[in-house]
């Protein structure tokens, strides 16, 4: 059951072309929905049955999110796709944009129909120029074929889709920062509530979904919510794209059933490079808690299993580290990232990310003190809450939590390496 949904046509020549997409049934379910005027509630029910959970990282059920929109209220509404893929380790949406843009377009038209939106925007990060061009080409193809525009399939339903290019800001992956960015402003997250379903783009009701979520919709609706659910396991429906990177022989994006044992996924990625020992894994993108290799080897790749193991499935970015990896230098890298990407709006995050980065940096460079470890813990908790106590963050958005979780988890699982660095002013391991 690999490559069943978003990667269905991945091995085909010019997989991104309209004729290839249509040769495997592409746009048929859209046609059926529009011509039969399927009740939007039925579409939402089907998605709820599938237990498709948001693939951007938060895991919120897509069907439930769509049900928050009051489609029959008057006025403009919007569907927005979040293709601002930037969580370190994550590069799956890029492959959907490059190789299966029509699945995303079809998913967005269906979403538009379901929530009552006649306009959609696909927010693509600015560095993804080639994927952007692929999407533009696909939009042109769809428009020429009458799949976008006025009166699609003679149904009376109109839908327009535009790409919007970012310009380098991780924070715009946060949905309300993304909306601000489309509005031509700095990407600074908004307070919630009000949620986008009531006050979104230009103040209008808006639904924002991740690329992989939207691109999964056509296949789910054509083969049934139950079919999708059964690929995975209860509460963790479907297959999922995992970006496996780091110290593996064959890094890559793999679309596999939810609930697959981690050990099998690692095998698909060719195992740990040079036959070395697996030391640690970040299982869901740079923000989520790191786990020691031995815990991961007993864990399955689904939301509930990874949560039980002490981390989060997040965006599905699986970063593999072998036994020569210095955990202090890895945390220094992660903390630097969050310092660079904090939008500067909330004091705990703006100041806290800088503190974390500078203190980990000085430990890495042999200038740390033992009391730094308690201070790191303290700053991380004051900014992002204590993940292990199920506390939430203290900032408008989750970037504070995202910066905090790596610190807490590295200290929990690899504290000895930090102590060694402080005591001996050098690394316990050889490579870095």
């Amino acid at each position: 059951m690999v490559n069943e949904v978003c990667f269905k046509n991945i091995d085909k020549d010019k997989a991104w072309k309209l004729d290839v997409y249509q040769s495997t049934g592409g746009y048929n379910v859209l046609k059926k929905i529009l011509q039969e005027k399927t009740d939007p509630a039925t579409i939402i029910d089907e998605l709820k049955t599938s237990v498709l959970r948001g693939r951007g990282g938060a895991g919120f059920p897509t069907g439930l999110k769509w049900s928050f929109m009051r489609r029959d209220d008057p006025g403009q509404k919007y569907i927005v796709c979040n293709s601002d893929e930037g969580e370190p380790g994550t590069c799956k949406d890029r492959d959907i944009l490059r190789y299966n843009p029509h699945a995303l377009i079809e998913g967005m038209i269906i979403a538009g129909y379901t929530i009552g939106a006649s306009v959609g925007y696909n927010y693509i990060r600015g560095e993804f120029w080639q994927p952007y061009e692929r999407c533009e080409e696909a939009i042109e193809e769809a428009r020429a074929a009458g799949l976008l525009g006025k009166n699609i399939f003679g149904s009376g339903f109109d839908f327009e889709l535009h790409s919007h290019l970012g310009a380098g800001a991780y924070i715009c992956g946060e949905e309300t920062a993304l909306l601000e960015s489309i509005e031509g402003k700095k990407g600074q997250p908004r307070f919630k509530p009000p949620f986008p379903a009531s006050y979104g783009l230009y103040g209008k009701p808006t639904t924002i979904n991740n690329t992989e979520s939207l691109a999964s919709v056509p296949e789910i609706l054509s083969r049934g919510g139950q079919w999708f659910l059964d690929i995975g396991k209860p509460n963790n429906g479907g297959s999922k794209l995992f970006s496996v990177s780091g110290h593996v022989n064959k890094p890559g994006n793999f679309e596999v059933p939810m609930g697959m044992p981690f050990s099998e996924l690692l095998e698909m990625a060719g195992g740990v490079r040079h036959g070395r020992r697996l030391k640690a894994v970040i299982p869901g993108g740079s923000s989520v808690p790191i786990l020691p290799g031995e815990i991961m080897m007993d864990t399955n790749m689904d939301y509930d299993s990874i949560t039980e193991a002490g981390s989060l499935l997040g965006s599905g970015a699986v970063i593999i580290m072998d036994d020569l990896t210095c955990m202090v230098s890895v945390l220094a890298n992660l903390s630097h990232f969050y310092m660079s990407e904090s939008c500067g709006q909330c004091t705990p995050c703006r100041e806290g990310t800088g503190w974390l980065s500078r203190v980990v940096h000085r430990i890495e460079h042999g200038e740390g003190r033992m009391e730094d470890l308690d201070m790191l813990f303290d700053v991380a908790v004051k900014m992002g809450g204590n993940y292990y106590e199920r506390e939430g963050g203290r900032t408008i958005c989750a970037l504070g939590d995202a910066a905090s979780m790596p610190v807490l988890s590295f200290l929990k699982h690899f504290r000895k390496e930090f102590e060694y660095h402080i005591e001996h002013k050098k690394c316990m391991v050889a490579r870095y």
Binding site: H247, P251, M321, V330, N333
Partner: protein
């Protein structure tokens, strides 16, 4: 009185900005600011200046400060000269544990410049950037609008030679 955008950039660039404006509701011209800044930056050899930002502000009916805010918030906008080929090397986690530091060292030696600097002939500059979302091809870099993945020093030589 600052110059209008059409006095500062080509008519092709102005037409391109117009095209972006058309994607948004008529009363939301400001939504095109990111695209407009990118377009004028590209035409100006890869970086912005005050005159260009003011021109964009005038064209989109925005206060100057609103344009400066956007131009300074997003990392792809430059405010100082860059090389004809701006080499952006990803330094985030997957690239880092696959040796991105060695890639940066190699580039610095190859061109005799540090990160943030431009070669004397103006052809190359090096920038360290955060995750570019190509983690399964680590280490990687972007030159202009192209991604280059699975880098080695030998591969970098071939890529750079191909630019000449």
């Amino acid at each position: 009185m600052s110059k209008s955008l059409s006095q500062l950039v080509s008519s092709k660039a102005v037409a391109e900005v117009e095209l972006w404006i058309s994607k948004y509701p008529a009363e939301q011209k400001q939504s095109a600011v990111m695209a407009a800044l990118r377009i004028v930056q590209d035409e100006n050899g890869g970086y912005l200046n005050r005159e260009l930002m003011d021109g964009v502000a005038g064209f989109l009916d925005m206060p100057f400060i609103a344009v400066y805010e956007v131009a300074s918030f997003y990392s792809m906008y430059e405010h100082n000269p860059v090389g004809k080929y701006k080499i952006c090397v990803c330094n985030s986690i997957s690239c880092m544990i696959n040796g991105s530091e060695k890639i940066i060292d190699y580039l610095e030696k190859k061109f005799g410049i540090g990160v943030g600097e431009v070669t004397k002939d103006g052809r190359f500059s090096i920038k360290e950037v955060e995750c570019l979302g190509a983690c399964v091809g680590a280490p990687m870099m972007m030159i202009g609008k192209e991604y280059y993945e699975d880098l080695t020093p030998e591969k970098i030589d071939i890529i750079i030679d191909g630019l000449k």
